[in-house]
Symmetry: C2
Subunit: 146 residues, 2 copies
DNA sequence: ATATATTTAATCGTTCACGATGCAAATATA
DNA sequence: TATATTTGCATCGTGAACGATTAAATATAT
């Protein structure tokens, strides 16, 4: 019955959307301490892994376009977390690099993944269970990314 | 090693966040036809299931606060999809009801879940596989919702 | 009955997410 | 080498999300 399919309880996407939101909310206390947002944390993780990247590299890694990332990085620049400068090689590119402060934040952030795991564990969701859904999520990302 | 844990590739939350975003993007063509957004679709699904609800009932169902829902519903009111009026029983409540137009949109929307399933299927993700992650997502929502 | 607490929405400010568009630099093609 | 196309980023406008706060109505406790 078509009525049945339109019920909220039958919407997988709604679960995904809600779980993601609540999970990001759960991170808030740690982000608040660092004075950053979730998306800024994602950018930092990319740069902590490899510094001095053109904006499009960050963009590809996070599946976000320049219209989202450009203002985001500018805010991070204003907070002295990163610097932005034009590439010599290709004048179209904007190279994003960590400042000393941005690099130092990594130390404070190292605890976050463990804290989050502990929080979930404590509430009854163990890492193993969570891990089981990752391959499906990855597959979804792969097929849905145009 | 703490470095390892801060890698984007090890972040379950990032998968969740990205999969949700891309999934919502995949819905866009259908929403565009209806002239609504994903969150408005969620509100409509709640009201199609049960009409004339106070804002807080919609709020609880979607795990969203009034600061998100109030402006959203107002936009839907401006589009003549719903009406808003104060409750007689409890003057604090705002009762949200579908207009004739809002009710009629349900017919156009009935195809959406099937179209989405077909799209995923076509790209190689069958319903069964997606269904396997639902219980874990539900459990996450349950434990993370304060 | 009155003071206090709780509930319900709304408002405000900030950031993200994204469609559409613009523009300049780089690259491909004629 | 002139022209077309692509690429990389930025800008603009709109609509979520959400923290913080406020106002009003209702519930409760004294």
């Amino acid at each position: 019955m078509s009525d049945e399919k339109l019920k909220l309880s039958n919407q997988g996407c709604f679960r995904l959307y809600t779980a993601a939101r609540l999970m990001i909310q759960a991170y808030q206390p740690w982000f608040a301490q660092l004075g950053i947002t979730y998306t800024q944390y994602l950018v930092l993780m990319v740069l902590w892994e490899q510094d001095c990247l053109p904006l499009n590299a960050i963009s590809r890694r996070l599946f976000l376009e320049s219209n989202t990332i450009t203002p985001l990085i500018k805010r991070m620049e204003a907070m002295k977390i990163v610097t932005r400068k034009k590439s010599k090689d290709d004048a179209r590119q904007t190279i994003v690099a960590l400042t000393e402060h941005g690099r130092a934040m990594k130390q404070q952030a190292t605890a976050i993944p463990d804290c989050m795991s502990a929080l979930l564990q404590e509430k009854g969701l163990d890492g193993e269970t969570f891990a089981t859904i990752i391959p499906t999520l990855d597959y979804m990302i792969e097929i849905l990314f145009k």
